[in-house]
Structures are given as structure tokens and as C-alpha cells.
């Protein structure tokens, strides 16, 4: 496996508050990296640092580097909009935009202004199939996305990200508002998507990391405590704090 993202001595601040402390971490190609840790441990901030969504928050500041294909994404000549298309993001609450199902999936593609009509229809279908939503919505693509159920909306959001043709998929507690069946469907999708994408999954649910992640990283108070194969993190971690957390002693 090759390194897809190299995080080096990376720190992040909101104003005077330090939210990430000198993180060193490699994300490997085509893995699912689970990121676990209690609330306010910095795991969502870490995710937002990777596609620079943190830039949108007032007072956000960084130190250190994050390299993708040898290029620091915090270099001034980086096209941030393009970067965000390469690292598609799925949020905790599904947020369909107030337009049709079709237009939601096509949104990112229309922004870049490339694809023509026929290819766009193909692309939308392909992405909906890959998130196993196609059968459920194929007859009502032009109806409002707001009318879908919560689980369907979250799969729509994943389809919308796939349509960007990203290299990475970043998921920020994607199942926190979903029932077990919807959660299982999304986890199935993730296992399939791993073949083509590198996936980083931030989750509050340690069991979810145990189920789907190849490797797991444990964050605490803005520090990366340890990262390793999921089995090892959950059975024989190096750090006592990791052990305490995965056993449910705190957090």
C-alpha cells in the first residue's frame, strides 16, 4: 500500500484555541481509515483540515503540512475548490439541497461545467446504483430530494460525492442520525467503494470502526494517540488510553 495523504507535524488553531497538536499520520491508498475519539478530541477538525473546510470558520489557522501526491495542500497556489472535489465530504446530518434528486447528484458536475446531457444522466445513474439507491428512486429522479427518508438522504449525499469522481471520501459521523438498517446499508456501500477510493471515516461509534475500518486512529484532546490495524487497536493497543476508550471506560 502506498501513502495517499502524508500529514506532517500538523497543528490547527481556532483563534487562541489549539484543536490539533502536531499530528503525524499517513493515510494509505484504498484503505478505510477509521478515526475515533471522544467529543472535542479533534477528529472532525482533522477531517476538515484535509479538504480545507476549516478555512470557512473564522479564526482558523494551521501549522505544518498535509501532502497529497507530494504537494502541500496549504500551499498558496492550491485551487481550493478543486481540492474539495478531490476529497468528497459526507456530513453527519444528511443535507440534500432544495432541488430534485437528479440535480442533487449532478450538482458538483454542473459546477465544473463539463459533462454534456447524456453523459450526465449516465453518471447520475451510476452513482445512485453504487449507493444502492437507484432502485428506490429511479422513477422519481425529478422529485424533491427533501422528500426522501433520512437513510436515503444520506446515501444520496454519498452518491452526490461519488459524482465528483473524487480520490478520497471523507465521512464525518455519517450514521449518527440513522437507524441500524440504514447504517448497515451505508457500511455495505463503504466496503464496496474501498476498491476505488480511499476512505476516511470519522465515527463516534467505536463498533462501527471495528466493523468497517482497515486501520483505526485514536484521537484525544487534539492529539493522535495511536494509529494501527483495527484488530490491534481494539485488542492490543500500545497506549493505555486507547484501551480505556475502546473498552468504553470513558468517552
Amino acid at each position: 500500500m502506498t501513502t495517499a495523504i502524508a500529514v506532517r507535524e500538523f497543528s490547527h488553531f481556532f483563534g487562541s484555541l489549539q484543536t490539533l497538536r502536531r499530528i503525524d499520520l499517513d493515510v494509505l491508498s484504498n484503505e478505510i481509515l477509521g478515526v475515533i475519539g471522544p467529543a472535542r478530541s479533534g477528529k472532525s477538525t482533522f477531517l476538515g483540515a484535509l479538504n480545507r473546510m476549516n478555512d470557512l470558520i473564522r479564526g482558523s489557522r494551521t501549522e505544518g503540512t498535509i501532502e497529497i501526491k507530494g504537494k502541500n495542500i496549504y500551499d498558496p497556489d492550491i485551487n481550493v475548490a478543486e481540492l474539495r472535489r478531490r476529497l468528497g465530504m459526507v456530513f453527519a446530518t444528511p443535507v440534500p439541497l432544495p432541488r430534485s434528486i437528479f440535480e442533487n447528484v449532478a450538482f458538483g458536475t454542473r459546477l465544473s461545467g463539463k459533462k454534456n446531457g447524456a453523459r450526465l444522466v449516465e453518471l447520475v445513474q451510476e452513482c445512485l446504483v453504487r449507493t444502492s439507491l437507484w432502485e428506490e428512486v429511479k422513477d422519481r429522479l425529478d422529485t424533491s430530494a427533501l422528500k426522501l427518508s433520512g437513510g436515503q438522504q444520506q446515501r444520496l449525499c454519498i452518491a452526490r460525492v461519488l459524482a465528483l469522481r473524487p480520490d478520497f471520501i471523507l465521512l464525518d459521523e455519517p450514521c449518527s442520525g440513522l437507524d441500524p438498517i440504514s447504517t448497515a446499508k451505508i457500511e455495505d456501500s463503504l466496503r464496496l467503494l474501498k476498491r476505488d477510493y480511499t476512505i476516511i471515516l470519522v465515527t463516534n461509534n467505536t463498533k462501527q470502526a471495528a466493523r468497517v475500518a482497515d486501520r483505526t486512529a485514536f484521537f484525544l484532546n487534539g492529539e493522535l494517540i495511536e494509529v494501527g490495524p483495527t484488530d490491534k487497536i481494539f485488542t492490543a493497543p500500545n497506549d493505555q488510553r486507547t484501551d480505556d476508550y475502546v473498552r468504553g471506560r470513558f468517552g
Partner: protein
Amino acid sequence: MRLNPKVEQGLVKAGLQVMTAATVFILLSIIVFILRKGLPVLDFSFLTKNPVDMGRGGGIFSTIIGTLVLTLVAVLIAAPFGVGTAIFLTEYTWENRVTRIIRFGADCLAGIPSIIFGLFGFILFVTKLGFGWSVLSGGLTLAFMILPTIIRTSEEAIKSVPAAYRQVSFSLGSTRWQMVTRVVLPAALPGIVTGIILSIGRSIGETAAVIFTAGSALHLPTSIFSSSRTMAVHFYILAREGISMSNAYGTAAILVISVLIINLLTYYLMERFIRKYS
């Protein structure tokens, strides 16, 4: 002593109903009064003929056109500037002292009596810039007058668009401008349009600001440098100088009806738009 909850509920409800009924009654009686006085004067030629003999005879065609053109100029200028300012304040800058000053200034301007705007427009546009009494001077003055309303209503509408929409738009690789045009503005449009309708209503009914800047010429305006009379000014002059009360009421009726039509039309268009976007 506490009232029995049921009795309290009944009293409150009755009280609120009375207030609502009184409001509706007052509004309706104004409209009915104007229509009863005005409608008998109306016929087709009242709409299509220009005023004759200072407005004693003929119709009000030129003042209808004057009103339309003046309002159009005002809205065409104020809407882009107002919405643009609102977008800048909400999407392109952090909240800071400057934005607060701009907002405070807009609120103050919104409360200034329109005759002050008229005086300002007269000095700046009519005399200093030499536009004379004209559609241009009047339109610009009205634009200044309605600008604060458009800024503040647009700002509120834009602010009420969920932050999550912006996040999603950015995360899908939109630039800030794409986010504004494709996500924020469509979602905020009903609120923005409501603000613009209110402004149109104010422009149509405005006399003080217009009489100083667009003048009160009775002929049909031929260019933006023609002086022109609006319906509201026409009504004011007819009634004030005692030229013709019946024609004054006729004009008033048309004024009320046109505001009604504009509102209905905009609500219809907005309804269709909302259906398309949600």
C-alpha cells in the same frame, strides 16, 4: 387569583379575534371607500386618454406610464445594488465594526421621511448634476429611498438560508460566487422578492420625494430626461388644488388596484418558483 385555564383560553382567543377583525375591517373599509368613490369614474378611456385641462377632463394614461417608468427605474437601480450589498455583508465579509456601521446606517436611512429624500434628490440630481425634473432624477431618488429596505430584507432572507447548504456547496467544490448564485440566492429569493415588492409599493405611492425630483408634467414622458407625473402626485394635485375630486378618486382606485395586481402577480410567480426548487 388564577383564572380557570379554559376561561383564560377563551378570553385570550376572543380578544385576539377582535383585534384581527378590527384590523381587517379598517383595511377593508379604506379599500371599499376608495373603490366606491373611484370606480364610478372609471371607464376604458380613463385609462387610455391623457389628462385634459389640468386633469379636470380626460384620463390618466400619462400618469400611469409615469408611475410605471419611475418605479421601474428605481427598482432596476436599487435591486441590484441592494441585493449586492446584502450579499457582500453576509457572504463576503466577517461581521465586524464596518458591517455594523453599514447596517446601522441602512436602518437609519430607512426611517428618514421621504420628503428629505426629495429635497436631497432635488439638490443633487435636479440642480447639481443638471438632470432637471425628470424620470431619471425621480427614479434615482426613489432608488435611494428604497435601498435600505431592500438591503435589510435581502440580508435577513440570505441569513435565514441554512448554514449547512453553504457547507455542502463548498464541499462539492463550488466557488463562493457559485455557492451564492446556485444555492443561497434561490433559497433566499422569496424573502428578497418580498422586500422588493414592499419597495415597489412604497415607490408607487410616493409623492413627496417624486414631486421635487420628477416634477409634475402632464404629458407622456418621451425619455428619461422628461419630467413626468405619477398617479400618486396626480391624485395629490387634483385633491389639493380642488381640481376634480371625482378624477382624484378614480386615480386612487387605479393606484390601489395596480398595487393589488403587482402583489398577486409576484406571489403567483414566487409560488411557481418555490415549487421548482423544493
